[in-house]
C-alpha cells in the first residue's frame, strides 16, 4: 500500500473508503468502539445517571483500557475540538498527527478533565502519498497510547489536488472532570504564584525554522507533548490550584493576558525567571520575534495559592515534560488585565497580547 497515493475515490464513501479505513486507520487506532464501525461510537465505561440535581456520568463496571491512572468515578463531561493545519506536516520533534492528539488531550487536561476519547476527522488532498498518511496515523497512535486515550471515531474526506496542503486534521475530545475540581481562568487572586512548566518558544521556532529553511547547529525540536499525566501530578500536589492554561498560539504573553483579564487582576513576571533555550533565544533575536509570543505545544501555565507554590513546583519538576518548571511571577491586585514584566536589568515593560498574526499556520 505504501507506494500508493490518496485518490478522490478514497473519500467517496464507497469501497475504496472502506478499504482505507480498514487498512490504515483501524490497525493504528483499533479499539472496540472504533472496530464496530457504526455511525457513532457508543462508549462503554460510563453511564448517565440522575441523582439529586443534574445528570452525572458514573463509571460502570467495565473500565476503559489505557496506561493512565485511576479514572474518576463521578464527574462532569468535558468536550473540546480543534482544527490542525500546520505547515509543514513534519518538523523536528513532531508532526501534525502528534499535534492533533496532544492539542486536544491538553485542552481537556487544562480544565482538570481526565481525557478519555478522541474523534478524528481527516481532510486529505488528492495525491497525498499513502506513506505520509500512514506516518501521521502511526504518530497519532503513539501519542494516544502515551496519553492513555482512545481514538474511537473518525471520518475521512478527500479533496482535489491543491485544496488541502497535504492534509488537515480536526480532533474532538471528551473527558471527565472529577468532582471537586473547578478550575477557571477567573480564579486567580492577588498573592497567587504563577508557574511555567518549562522553556518557551520551542514549537513555534521548530515549525518556522523548518518552513524558512533556518538551520541550527543543534536543531530546535517542537515540545509537542501530552500533559495530562503532568497535570494529574500537579492536581495532587496543589489542591488549591486556581487555573491552568497551555500557551499555544500567541504564546505565553497572550495566555497571561487572558488570565489577567478573566480574573480581573494584574500579573507581573520576572524576565530572568522565564526559561528560554539558548537556541530559541538566538533564533528569535535573529528573526525579530519575542519568545513570549511564540507558540508552545507541551507547556502549561499554572496559577497556585502562595502556600502551595513550592510543593507544586517541586512536583512539576519531577514529571516528564516538567523538568524545566520555574516560578515566573505573581498575581497583583491591579491594574486589572495588565501584564507587566520586570526586565533583566531592573526596568519595567508592559506585555501586550499578540497583535495581528506573527507566525501563520503554526498549529
Amino acid at each position: 500500500m505504501s507506494k500508493e497515493r490518496v485518490l478522490l475515490a478514497h473519500g467517496s464513501g464507497g469501497k475504496l473508503s472502506e478499504e482505507l479505513i480498514r487498512r490504515v486507520f483501524v490497525p493504528a487506532f483499533g479499539n472496540p468502539a472504533l472496530n464496530r464501525m457504526d455511525d457513532s461510537a457508543v462508549l462503554d465505561g460510563y453511564r448517565m445517571a440522575a441523582s439529586s440535581g443534574a445528570p452525572q456520568l458514573i463509571e460502570s463496571a467495565i473500565l476503559a483500557r489505557g496506561p493512565a491512572g485511576a479514572r474518576p468515578s463521578v464527574g462532569r463531561l468535558a468536550l473540546t475540538t480543534d482544527c490542525h493545519v500546520v505547515k509543514p506536516l513534519f518538523f523536528d520533534g513532531g508532526d501534525i498527527g502528534r499535534l492533533a492528539v496532544c492539542g486536544t488531550v491538553n485542552d481537556l487536561a487544562m480544565v482538570g478533565a481526565t481525557p478519555l476519547y478522541l474523534a478524528a476527522g481527516f481532510v486529505l488532498e488528492e495525491g497525498l502519498p499513502m506513506e505520509t498518511l500512514e506516518r501521521v496515523v502511526a504518530s497519532m497512535r503513539a501519542a494516544a497510547e502515551e496519553a492513555g486515550v482512545q481514538i474511537a471515531a473518525g471520518d475521512t474526506k478527500v479533496v482535489e489536488q491543491g485544496k488541502a496542503d497535504g492534509l488537515f486534521i480536526t480532533t474532538t475530545g471528551v473527558g471527565i472532570v472529577p468532582e471537586g475540581i473547578d478550575l477557571s481562568g477567573s480564579n486567580a487572586r492577588p498573592g497567587d504564584v504563577v508557574l511555567l512548566s518549562g522553556p518557551i518558544g520551542d514549537h513555534g521556532i521548530a515549525v518556522l525554522s523548518r518552513r524558512e529553511g533556518l538551520e541550527f547547529g543543534v536543531p530546535v525540536a517542537s515540545d509537542v507533548a501530552p500533559l495530562n499525566h503532568l497535570v494529574a501530578v500537579l492536581l495532587e500536589a496543589s489542591p488549591g490550584l486556581r487555573a491552568m492554561r497551555d500557551p499555544t498560539r500567541g504564546g505565553l504573553a497572550t495566555t497571561l493576558n487572558e488570565l489577567a483579564a478573566q480574573s480581573r487582576v494584574a500579573i507581573q513576571v520576572e524576565e530572568g525567571r522565564v526559561p528560554v533555550r539558548a537556541s530559541v533565544r538566538a533564533a528569535c533575536e535573529m528573526l525579530g520575534y519575542d519568545p513570549l509570543y511564540v507558540a508552545n505545544e507541551g507547556k502549561l501555565v499554572a496559577i497556585v495559592p502562595p502556600d502551595e507554590a513550592e510543593r507544586a513546583l517541586a512536583a512539576l519538576r519531577g514529571t516528564r515534560y516538567g523538568e524545566g518548571a520555574e516560578m515566573i511571577g505573581s498575581v497583583l491586585p491591579g491594574p486589572p488585565g495588565r501584564v507587566l514584566m520586570r526586565t533583566r536589568i531592573g526596568g519595567t515593560r508592559v506585555v501586550q497580547m499578540l497583535m495581528g498574526e506573527m507566525l501563520p499556520r503554526i498549529c
Binding site: T343, I345, G346, T348, R349, M355
Partner: protein
C-alpha cells in the same frame, strides 16, 4: 549569546544607573535617531531606570516611518506594473500609502515578495528572467551599501532584469534639520550604532563643533545605551561637546571605508522627502548615471496619482520628537497595531508601535 549577554548584565546595569543618578541635576533631552535604539530602550525598560531630569526622545530613526506617502504610492504603482515582481523588506508591506498598501496590492494579485536581503531579490531576478524584479530600497547607510553591492553584483553577472527603486536616506542631515528647527531642545544625541559602523564618527562632528551638542555612538544592548547616556551626561557636566564612540567593539572613527566607497560608487546624494521633516537637500541617495539601467525611476513610467496624507495622523510630529505617542489623539484608540493609521504604528521599530507594545496605552 556571546558578546550579547555580557552587555545585559544586571549588576553592571545597576552600577551604571547609579552613576547616572549621581550626575548633576540638570534637565536634559537626549535624542536617539535609530529605530533599533527605540526598541532596545523600551524593551529593556530603560526609561523607568533613569532619573526624572533625563528625558529620552525618539527622533526620525525608523527608515520605514520616514518614507513619504508619495514614495510608498510609487512602490505600490510599481507592483501593479505588468510582468513585474516587487521585492521588499517585510516592514513595508502594511505601511499605508495614500489609498492602498503593498499588502493590499498583493491581495489584489500583484506579485509582491518579502525578502530579508537584496541577495534574495537577486535570486528572484535570476529565477524569473522574463519578469522585471524591482527592489524597494529603503534604509539608511547600514542598508544602502548592501543595495549598492547588489547592483554591483548584478552588473558583474550581466543581470538585466534587476532594478532598485531607491528612497534611501542618509543620517546626519535630518539631525541638523531638527536642531535648526528649534522645536525642542536637544542636549545630546545617541547616535546610531550600525549606521556609524559604516560612516564613522566624523559626520557628527559639526553637531558638537557648530551647535555644542555632544554625540555618543551607542550599541544596542542595555549596557551600551546606559553607558552612552552616562557619557553624554559626563560631557555636559564637564561643559564640553564632542563625538565619542561607546560602541567601540564595532565602530571605528573611520567607519568602513570600502562600504562607503561601494555605496557612493553606485549612489550619489540627492534631495529627499522625509515624513515629518519635508524635503531635506542632500539627504537622499539616487542611483548614478553609470548604473542608470538599474534605476527603477528611469526604467518605469509611473504616475501614482495624487498624494494624500492621513487625516489626524501626527506621525510627522512624533518623528520630530515634538509629540509622544500618547499625545496623538489617534494613538491606542483609532490607531493600533491591528488597525494602524500611520507608519509609526506599522513599523516594528516605529515609535508608536514600540510605545504600544512595551508601554501600553496610559
Amino acid at each position: 549569546m556571546r558578546y550579547v549577554d555580557e552587555f545585559r548584565d544586571s549588576a553592571a546595569a545597576a552600577r551604571l544607573v547609579e552613576r547616572i543618578h549621581r550626575r548633576p541635576l540638570v534637565p536634559v533631552n537626549l535624542m536617539e535617531v535609530c529605530g533599533t535604539h527605540t526598541v532596545a530602550i523600551f524593551r529593556h525598560g530603560i526609561r523607568q531606570l533613569l532619573p526624572d531630569h533625563v528625558t529620552l526622545v525618539s527622533g526620525p530613526g525608523c527608515p520605514v516611518c520616514v518614507t513619504a506617502n508619495r514614495d510608498v504610492d510609487w512602490a505600490i504603482a510599481l507592483a501593479h506594473q505588468p510582468r513585474t515582481i516587487l521585492a521588499t523588506f517585510g516592514d513595508m508591506m502594511k505601511v499605508p500609502g495614500s489609498t492602498s498598501s503593498l499588502a493590499r496590492a498583493r491581495a489584489e494579485g500583484c506579485d509582491v515578495r518579502v525578502v530579508y536581503s537584496t541577495l534574495d531579490a537577486l535570486a528572484i531576478a535570476r529565477a524569473n528572467p522574463d519578469r522585471r524584479v524591482v527592489f524597494f530600497g529603503i534604509g539608511f547607510e547600514t542598508t544602502a551599501p548592501t543595495v549598492a553591492c547588489s547592483i554591483l553584483e548584478a552588473e558583474q553577472n550581466g543581470l538585466d532584469n534587476y532594478f532598485v527603486y531607491s528612497v534611501h536616506k542618509v543620517m546626519p542631515p535630518p539631525m541638523k534639520a531638527l536642531v535648526d528647527a528649534e522645536e525642542i531642545r536637544i542636549d545630546g544625541f545617541i547616535c546610531p550604532g550600525h549606521v556609524s559602523a559604516i560612516i564613522g564618527s566624523e559626520p557628527y562632528r559639526f553637531l558638537a563643533a557648530d551647535y555644542g551638542i555632544p554625540c555618543v555612538i551607542a550599541g544596542f544592548e542595555p549596557l551600551d545605551v546606559l553607558q552612552a547616556v552616562d557619557m553624554l551626561l559626563a560631557m555636559r557636566a564637564e561643559g564640553r561637546a564632542g563625538v565619542e564612540i561607546q560602541y567601540s567593539r564595532v565602530v571605528r572613527p573611520e567607519g568602513n571605508p570600502l562600504a562607503r566607497e561601494q555605496m557612493y560608487r553606485v549612489f550619489q546624494p540627492s534631495d529627499a522627502e522625509w515624513r515629518g521633516l519635508g524635503n531635506i537637500p542632500g539627504s537622499g541617495l539616487e542611483i548614478r548615471e553609470e548604473y542608470a539601467h538599474f534605476d527603477a525611476r528611469r526604467a518605469f513610467d509611473i504616475d501614482p496619482g495624487p498624494t494624500r496624507e492621513h487625516a489626524g495622523c501626527r506621525c510627522g510630529e512624533v518623528l520630530r520628537g515634538v509629540v509622544e505617542p500618547p499625545q496623538c489623539p489617534l494613538y491606542g484608540r483609532v490607531c493600533t497595531p491591528e488597525n494602524p493609521v500611520g507608519p509609526c504604528m506599522v513599523s516594528s521599530e516605529g515609535t508608536c508601535s514600540t510605545w504600544f507594545q512595551f508601554a501600553g496605552v496610559e
